[in-house]
């Protein structure tokens, strides 16, 4: 593919993510791959697009629904190129590895999903464990994936104890220092997060990105 056409198709990928249009994203990613553009270059473009939307959301220029729409559109592109990248055994550079889960007993995931989207938009690799995640499964995942930060969200007051259980369990296993634990969700307060000895608390999605940057050393503590 000629250079001019190549930038053209990549621009279309970028714009389609901004436009929240999964069909155009998929179509132009296919075009890019057919045109022999490196899947990693396409991934860069997808990341750049979602980062732009994330920044706009941070500034209040777009709504959360735009951000989630862009994330959905981006997913359509990722699904195409991820197998190709894995096949070539290439490593994707990210800001860090994060695991996210909703506390055991809690099925409310809108807030957690927003945080996952924002972290991915900021350039982190996020493993989303979903809802109602038992402590043992979280422990297994962060051990296996060597996650730098794990976040547990709780909307129901009755489920915040799961956050404490995770920290205690990591202590018993002697792996507490290997991972930073952050807690959040409507039922959680900063006082609670201190009391259970977590490494960080964020009151909303946008603040979480800053917190994760601090915990991973991407940004200096302010």
């Amino acid at each position: 593919m000629r250079w001019a056409l190549m930038t053209d198709v990549l621009d279309r990928v970028y714009q389609a993510v901004l436009d929240c249009d999964p069909d155009i994203v998929a179509e132009s990613v296919h075009q890019a791959i057919d045109g022999k553009i490196d899947p990693l270059v396409v991934l860069d473009k997808l990341n750049a697009a979602i980062r732009t939307v994330g920044e706009k959301f941070g500034k209040g220029d777009v709504f959360i629904t735009d951000l989630m729409g862009s994330a959905e559109a981006m997913k359509a592109g990722i699904q195409i190129i991820e197998p190709l990248i894995l096949k070539n055994r290439k490593r994707v550079e990210t800001l860090g590895k994060i695991a996210m889960a909703t506390a055991e007993g809690d099925i409310h995931d809108i807030g957690k999903n927003i945080v996952v989207t924002l972290l991915r938009a900021a350039g982190f690799e996020v493993t989303d464990l979903g809802v109602d995640v038992p402590t043992e499964r979280i422990v297994e995942t962060i051990t296996k994936e060597k996650s730098q930060v794990v976040g547990v969200s709780a909307l129901l007051t009755s489920t915040v104890a799961a956050q404490e259980r995770l920290i205690r369990r990591l202590g018993e296993l002697g792996t507490r220092d290997a991972v930073k634990v952050m807690v959040g969700g409507a039922a959680v307060t900063r006082e609670w997060s201190r009391r259970i000895g977590s490494d960080g608390y964020a009151p909303d999605g946008l603040t979480t990105v800053g917190l994760v940057k601090q915990l991973t050393g991407v940004a200096l503590e302010t």
Partner: protein, 483 residues
């Protein structure tokens, strides 16, 4: 900028009550009559069948005269801005808002203290109104205390023309003063015919309650009618002092005075644009002070909307009224309720943004907050759209139990259309709010006002027009100056 009313959402009076008040007002106009302090006009009234007692200056209107002539008032007419983008049509079924007319003081932006207003404040106020989207035209908001009282109103109008491109509605002290304003309006719009087509000025016409129409009012009715300048007929009785303390009795006075004023305008100039403007304030019996934030003001305004519409007239109500001295909870509660009541009743013009303290004091921060409250009320008036697209059954089925609507196109498409997005009201979580400086809404509004003042500059007047305005002002000063 056209805001259409979905439908009238509130009826304070039922049909029987409306008719009873209407016919009571007609009875008052026939039995008690109205004093009109202008002999020529009394003679014109006599010619159309009004019973006139020249010695007592008393006019008794047979009901048919009121009904015949009020009917001649146009159901819709244009109020123009200096710039065409701010033109709008006044009619039943749409709603527009303006600042009030008549503050003598301001809350100083630097010190927060209340002080007498200056010409600078008048100009700054005009620029702020020009910048606020939910306020469609200007009232003569801030009267400059550093201008001589004989022509302060003329000076104010000139400053508004220089600092805003929106339509101006204000009070002139006397007919002579209004003549100079009309001169200015002609200069700005490009001549008498153009002024008639696109009146950049409308005029507040207030009787002296109860049931007296002063010479200054009659002179201005005549002048405004001659040039097609819309007249806002503002009966302003104080319940308990210049009208009965009972709400129904107060409405009879409001209705009688407004109908008498509008009938006179139509007798002198058939088809002259006229607005029905109730200002039913009440007396606080503990102090004897007039109250403009009382809840009765809101109830009476809502009822008056029904009375004006019953006669086929567009209605301007006083909204956003408060008697509080600061930007506090009293201000928020009184303003919101007194705006919402007449708005829900279907008022077409909502007057009153920008003041506290019973019309006396202007606040730049408050008008920014009022702009926000107006946005919420416009949203209320749009009601709920019930149709296939908004019921969203296909979407509900697609997302299914346990799914999320956040990333759906339908959500993006309707987020802005269906929901009011506040500009200054805060919805952050506490930690974020604290990080951003723990600002309350008064502080946020003050910063927004300061930002507007540093950035917003309406287009300047044509140099030749500016010279004409300066010359008219010089003549006005020479002619009107009284010591």
């Amino acid at each position: 900028m056209h805001i259409a009313l979905g439908h009238e959402m509130l009826e304070i009076l039922d049909r029987t009550q409306i008719e009873r008040i209407h016919f009571s007002a007609l009875e008052v106009l026939e039995r008690t009559g109205v004093v009109i302090e202008q002999t020529d006009t009394l003679k014109s009234l006599k010619d159309v069948g009004v019973q006139v007692d020249l010695d007592r200056k008393l006019a008794r209107f047979p009901p048919y005269v009121i009904q015949d002539y009020v009917r001649k008032a146009p159901p819709h007419f244009l109020q123009a801005g200096r710039s065409r983008k701010f033109d709008f049509v006044v009619r039943n079924g749409s709603v527009f808002a303006r600042s009030l007319s008549g503050c003598s003081h301001v809350l100083d932006m630097e010190t927060g203290q209340c002080r007498e207003a200056t010409k600078n404040d008048t100009a700054d106020g005009a620029r702020i109104i020009d910048a606020l989207d939910n306020i469609h035209f200007c009232g003569g908001w801030i009267y400059p205390g550093d201008e001589h009282p004989s022509y302060r109103d003329v000076s104010l109008f000139k400053i508004f023309l220089e600092n805003s491109e929106k339509h101006v509605c204000l009070q002139a002290y006397e007919g002579k003063n209004l003549e100079f304003m009309i001169e200015m309006a002609k200069a700005v719009q490009g001549g008498e015919n153009e002024l008639r087509r696109r009146p950049v000025l409308s005029i507040v016409l207030a009787p002296s309650s109860p049931l007296k129409l002063g010479k200054f009012m009659i002179d201005q009715i005549d002048l405004a009618g001659r040039y097609g300048v819309p007249g806002l007929f503002c009966s302003t009785p104080i319940a308990g002092a210049t009208s009965p303390i009972t709400l129904a009795g107060d409405l009879v006075i409001v209705h009688a005075e407004n109908l008498a004023g509008i009938a006179i305008s139509q007798i002198l100039h058939p088809g002259a644009p006229a607005v029905y403007g109730p200002r039913p304030n009440t007396m606080d019996m503990r102090t004897g002070n007039a109250a403009w934030g009382s809840i009765e003001f809101g109830i009476l305004s809502a009822a008056s909307v029904q009375l004006g519409h019953f006669c086929g007239l567009p209605v301007d109500t006083y909204s956003l009224g408060t008697d509080s001295k600061t930007l506090d909870e009293q201000t928020a509660a009184e303003k919101s309720l007194n705006l919402l009541l007449p708005a829900l009743a279907g008022a077409n013009l909502l007057t009153g943004a920008g003041f506290i303290e019973t019309i006396r004091t202007a606040s730049f921060a408050q008008i920014v907050i009022d702009n926000e409250i107006l946005g919420m009320v416009y949203r209320t008036l749009r009601g709920i759209t019930v149709e296939d697209e908004s019921l969203a059954l296909e979407l509900i089925d697609k997302v299914g139990p346990g799914g999320s609507y956040l990333a759906e196109k339908h959500t993006r498409k309707h987020a802005l259309l269906e929901h009011f997005i506040p500009a200054i009201f805060d919805r952050n979580v506490r930690e974020t709010w604290e990080r951003k400086g723990s600002r309350d809404v008064a502080q946020a509004a003050k910063e927004k006002a300061a930002d507007i003042l540093s950035k917003h500059h309406p287009s300047e007047l044509d140099k030749d027009v500016q010279r004409q305005l300066d010359a008219i002002m010089t003549r006005a000063k020479q002619t009107l100056h009284r010591t």
